[in-house]
Assembly symmetry: C2
Homo-oligomer: 265 residues x 2
């Protein structure tokens, strides 16, 4: 059975002819102990997000929000308003909060975000199952939501962990960490994984291990979007693009250009 998140994503991708998930990584510094200023800046962030969606909401497949925007907006303050705006564009929305806590806390984190209206959550498989991510998957099922696992991040230091060679305690065989994580995605029932667009070869290896129905979402695509084409060719399902779009002079045109290059594949 296809999850609510995936069917929503596929519907908007097809309607808007796009494989882009917008990373809404907006930022605005907030000073301590100035409640009036806080209110203003929260409202500005919300307005900024609304303006971006007004320009490109009908040209993307989904939206991803991370702690850069979640923390200042507040899960039970302005975040539900932002999700309502995204909903009005019929786009699915991912909470990129890289959950990696203990079970009872993970359960609350997941409840808070699904309560606030997110369709999917990103979690870090490194913390393991029992008393760890088991509660995230349980909570996701209860809310008909999805879990997406980190398999390989896109920053330079990512190799320190995600590319470690790990010795299997039972067989003695050696295996790269990212393939162990891809196998956990299969076993635990994730609906998607994150693999940086920066390593098409790793996208290929992960695609080979991953069950067919699990999506690969690829962040780390720069302004030219060339890595995006390579990522999709290597097996990525969607690419995640943020600042390259909304920091460009013409976000609508930038999105159209990326969509064109990806739709030619």
């Amino acid at each position: 059975m296809v999850s609510k998140f995936i069917s929503k994503l596929e519907r908007s991708s097809s309607a808007n002819k796009s494989k882009i998930i917008l990373a809404l990584d907006l930022s605005s510094e907030l000073k301590k102990n100035n409640k009036a200023e806080w209110e203003n800046i929260k409202k500005q962030l919300l307005k900024q997000a609304e303006n971006i969606l007004n320009k490109i909401g009908d040209k993307i497949a989904g939206v991803k929000i991370n702690n850069q925007l979640i923390l200042p907006l507040g899960v039970y303050e302005y975040l539900p308003d932002l999700i309502d705006i995204i909903d009005s564009w019929k786009l699915p929305v991912i909470a990129d909060v890289k959950i990696n806590d203990v079970g009872h806390t993970n359960e609350w984190i997941a409840k808070h975000f699904f309560n606030a209206g997110f369709d999917a959550l990103i979690a870090n498989p490194f913390v393991g199952w029992k008393g760890g991510l088991d509660k995230v998957f349980e909570t996701a099922r209860a809310y008909n939501g999805s879990v997406i696992l980190l398999v390989y991040m896109s920053h330079p230091g990512a190799s320190e962990g995600f590319h470690q060679i790990v010795v299997d305690s039972q067989t003695g065989f050696q295996k790269p960490q990212f393939l162990i994580f891809a196998e956990k995605a299969n076993i635990w029932g994730a609906d998607g994984v994150i693999v940086g667009a920066t390593s098409p070869q790793i996208i290929k290896s992960v695609r080979d291990v991953l069950k067919k129905n699990i999506l690969i979402l690829s962040p780390g695509v720069g302004v030219q979007g060339g890595e995006g084409v390579e990522a999709i060719r290597a097996g990525a399902s969607y690419i995640i693009v943020g600042r390259s779009i909304f920091d460009s002079d013409n976000p609508s045109q930038t999105v159209s250009l990326i969509n064109e290059s990806l739709n030619q594949i």
Copy 2:
């Protein structure tokens, strides 16, 4: 030079004759789209926290807050009020948010929490340095704040990641993940590490590797507090206790009993 966080922690530990860091893991479900109810529940959570501190604020060494409480309170809504209350007890406060994102987002997360008044942040070393945790340490320095690294968590599934045997790509030597993380704490300049009280043997191994001035904070201590004694004997500097205290019939008495057992060591 001793960091602001450590000197604050040592001062309160000595004044209050305690090695307990209180994990303020309060929870209260919030429903979607009911702003009036949200307000009430946020205020109730704040009141609940204040009541607990009124009972035991002069018998503990510090406070740790995680996303279970941070997300509903809101970083720029009620969280600064909670930190003011904790400040009035002269206790240091740790944001247990297990930061594990990419650099620019990590930087914002760290800014938001230090802005809100936290003395220290917990981060996950698995995501590596460059374009990862480098920004957390940089931001901490700018705010005169501290970084605490996860070295071994306390839930059953923690062994899946933290106890992996990793092959060194240069030497071919094999090493447990938690010792790799302890070495990163030394190199990166962490002020503390988290090692679950559930494995005194691992606390010992980590203590052997760790620079003298880096603290070991041990979560996972149950209501009897026996694991706490073992953890401190093995080399832990402080123990982290939460629900065992505030879910007990008499939190003040529970804290006193744990303090007594630890002070006998």
